[in-house]
C-alpha cells in the first residue's frame, strides 16, 4: 500500500539523514519503526507526509509510492487528501482551540455529510475527550492531548496513519491505554499504521512487522515476534539479558558484545 524504495533524504543539501531506506506498509497492518535518537525515524515519516520542505530537506534519491502513485513530490495537503495522515511528535494540539474544535479541524479536508457520525465515533474511542469538549486544548493533560491529536487525525478518515512516538512522556499506564485504543481502531477501521517508537517493547507487541533504523539505514527487519527474539534487540532495545531477567549493570562488559549488524 505504502512503499519506500531506496529513499535518501538530505537537509540543506549537505546533511545526509536517510541513506537509502526501503520499507513497505501493507494494507490493514501495523508496522513499527524502531531506532535510537537521530536514527532518522521522524525524518522517514516526514518524507512520507511531505513535510521536509519546511525544514529545507529533500528526497534526493529513491521514491515513495502510495497505492501505486508516486507521492514524494507532492504537497503535504495533497498527500493528506490521498489518505495519509501523520500524528506529529510532541502532542501538537491547537492550544487555543477547545477540544471539540480541535477534533473538527481534522475533518476540514473533507466535505461529506458524515462528519457528525465520525465525531461521535471518535468520542466513542476516547470517552475522556467527550467529557472535555469545551476545554481549551492547551490545558489538557499530556495523555488527553495525545488522545486528542490521534482523534483529530482519525477525523480525516485516513487509510494510513503515521504515528510519531505516541508514548513520549506518558506514564506506563497511559501508554498502555493509548495503545489499546490504537489496536481497537486498527481492528475496526482496518487502516494501516506506521508506528515510530522508542518504546520498543510495546511497539513490537502491537505491530506485526518491524524495521530497525540506525544512522539512516534499515539494519534489521522482520516479523515483530522474530525481532523480539533477536539477541541484539533484546540487549540494546529491550534491556533484557539472555534469560529474560533484568540486566545487572555490574556484570555488563559492553566491549564483549557488539551489535552484529555494525
Amino acid at each position: 500500500m505504502l512503499k519506500m524504495v531506496n529513499v535518501e533524504v538530505k537537509y540543506s543539501e549537505v546533511i545526509l539523514v536517510l541513506r537509502g531506506i526501503s520499507l513497505e506498509l501493507p494494507a490493514n497492518k501495523i508496522v513499527c519503526l524502531l531506532g535510537a535518537n537521530g536514527a532518522g525515524k521522524t525524518t522517514t515519516l516526514k518524507a512520507i507526509s511531505g513535510l521536509l520542505g519546511s525544514e529545507d530537506g529533500k528526497v534526493t534519491d529513491g521514491f515513495i509510492e502510495f497505492s501505486g502513485e508516486r507521492i514524494d513530490r507532492l504537497e503535504t495537503e495533497i498527500i493528506t487528501k490521498l489518505g495519509i495522515s501523520q500524528v506529529l511528535e510532541g502532542r501538537r494540539v491547537f492550544e487555543h482551540l477547545n477540544v471539540d474544535d480541535n477534533v473538527r479541524t481534522g475533518a476540514l479536508s473533507r466535505g461529506d455529510g458524515e462528519i457528525k457520525v465520525d465525531i461521535e465515533r471518535v468520542y466513542g474511542y476516547f470517552p475522556r475527550l467527550g467529557q472535555l469538549k469545551k476545554r481549551t486544548a492547551g490545558y489538557l493533560s499530556g495523555g488527553e492531548q495525545q488522545m486528542l491529536v490521534i482523534a483529530r487525525a482519525l477525523m480525516g478518515r485516513p487509510k494510513v496513519l503515521l504515528l510519531d512516538e505516541p508514548s513520549l512522556g506518558l506514564s506506563p499506564l497511559l501508554v498502555q491505554e493509548v495503545f489499546n485504543v490504537l489496536g481497537r481502531i486498527q481492528a475496526d477501521t482496518r487502516m494501516s499504521m506506521l508506528l515510530v517508537e522508542q518504546n520498543a517493547n510495546i511497539a513490537l507487541k502491537i505491530s506485526e512487522y518491524g524495521y530497525v533504523l540506525e544512522n539512516g539505514r534499515v539494519v534489521l527487519d522482520g516479523p515483530s515476534e522474530k525481532i523480539i527474539e533477536n539477541q541484539d534487540i533484546r540487549e540494546f532495545y529491550l534491556g533484557l539479558s539472555e534469560l529474560g531477567s533484568r540486566k545487572s549493570y555490574r556484570e555488563v562488559k559492553h566491549y564483549k558484545r557488539r551489535k552484529r549488524w555494525l
Binding site: L51, S54, T80, S85, E95, H96, L97, Y139, A153
Partner: protein
C-alpha cells in the same frame, strides 16, 4: 453635558472604524506572524478608490463601497500571490520589511495618481441626525459608521467563530504545520486573510475620510489602528473591538477638552501614548495570547 455626549458618540463611531482596520492587522498577524506595515497605505487606498468612484466617476456611494471592496480584494490576492507566497519559509523579518516596502510603493502610487492635494467629498449625508431621547442626537454619518462597522465586525466574527473557513483560519493561526498535515489548504487560508484584512482596512479608510476629506497623510488612521491592535493584543479579535472605541473616545475627549488649553495636537498622539503605557504593563496587550503553559 450635551457636548460631552457628542464627544463620546464621535469617539465610539471613529473608534469602531479603528477596530475594523485593526482586525485586518490581527488576522494577518495571527495566521502568518507577519506584522503588515502596508495596512495603513491599503487603508487610504480604499479611501482614494471610493473618492474616484463617487466624485470622479459620480457613482452612488454604496456602489462605490462595493467597487472598493472588489478592487482591494483583487489587489490583496495579487499581493499574496506575487509578493508573499514566494517568501514562505524565509525569515519573518524579511517579510515584514517587504510589507514596509509595499506600503511605500502604494503610497507613491497614490501620490502619483491623485497628487498631494486635500480631496474633499461633497456632503454625503443630510444635516441633522437621529435623536436619542432628549439629550443627544446621533448624526447621520455616525449612524452610518456604526451600522457599517457592526455589520462588518459581527459578520466577520461569526465567520471566524462558527464557519469551517473560520475554523481553518484559527487552526492555521495556532500551528501552521499541523494545519497542513490535517489537509487544510494553508495557502488558501492565507490568501483569504489578506483579502479580508485589506477590505476591512479599505472600507474603514473610506468611511472615516468620507467625512474628513482625504490626504495621503491620512495613513495616520492606519497607524492609530495599529496602536489599537497592539493595545488590544495582537491575537485577540475581541480585544480590538473593545479597545478601538476606548481609544476613539480618549481621542475626541482630549481633542475637545485638552487641546484648546495646550494649543492642539495632543489628540493626535493620544493613541500612541496609551500604547506606550499599556505595553509597559502588559507586553502582550490587554487581551493578547499569553503562551499556554501547563503547571
Amino acid at each position: 453635558m450635551n457636548e460631552l455626549i457628542n464627544y463620546l458618540i464621535t469617539g465610539v463611531a471613529n473608534g469602531f472604524i479603528y477596530s475594523m482596520i485593526a482586525i485586518g492587522f490581527i488576522l494577518i498577524f495571527k495566521c502568518s506572524k507577519i506584522f503588515n506595515f502596508a495596512q495603513p497605505e491599503i487603508t487610504i487606498l480604499g479611501a482614494y478608490i471610493i473618492y474616484a468612484a463617487t466624485v470622479q466617476f459620480k457613482l452612488p456611494f454604496m456602489l462605490g463601497i462595493g467597487i472598493t471592496i472588489g478592487l482591494i480584494a483583487i489587489l490583496a490576492l495579487i499581493i499574496e500571490r506575487v509578493l508573499l507566497r514566494p517568501m514562505i519559509g524565509q525569515p519573518i523579518l524579511s517579510i515584514i520589511l517587504l510589507t514596509l516596502g509595499l506600503g511605500s510603493f502604494v503610497r507613491g502610487a497614490i501620490i502619483l495618481i491623485w497628487g498631494t492635494e486635500w480631496l474633499r467629498f461633497p456632503p454625503l449625508f443630510p444635516e441633522g441626525g437621529v435623536a436619542i431621547g432628549r439629550i443627544a442626537t446621533l448624526s447621520y454619518p455616525h449612524v452610518f459608521f456604526l451600522s457599517m462597522c457592526s455589520l462588518f465586525i459581527l459578520s466577520l466574527g461569526a465567520y471566524y467563530r462558527f464557519s469551517r473557513g473560520g475554523l481553518a483560519m484559527r487552526a492555521t493561526a495556532d500551528d501552521i504545520i499541523v494545519a497542513k498535515v490535517l489537509g487544510i489548504k494553508v495557502t488558501r487560508v492565507l490568501a483569504l486573510t489578506w483579502v479580508i484584512a485589506s477590505t476591512v482596512g479599505g472600507i474603514g479608510g473610506a468611511l472615516l475620510t468620507s467625512v474628513t476629506g482625504i490626504h495621503y497623510t491620512a495613513v495616520e488612521i492606519g497607524f492609530k489602528s495599529m496602536a489599537v491592535g497592539l493595545v488590544g493584543g495582537l491575537e485577540s479579535l475581541a480585544g480590538v473591538i473593545v479597545v478601538g472605541p476606548l481609544l476613539g473616545i480618549a481621542e475626541t475627549l482630549i481633542a475637545g477638552y485638552i487641546d484648546p488649553l495646550v494649543g492642539g495636537g495632543l489628540s493626535e498622539v493620544a493613541a500612541y501614548f496609551v500604547l506606550m503605557v499599556v505595553l509597559i504593563f502588559r507586553p502582550h496587550g490587554i487581551f493578547g495570547w499569553e503562551t499556554i503553559e501547563r503547571v
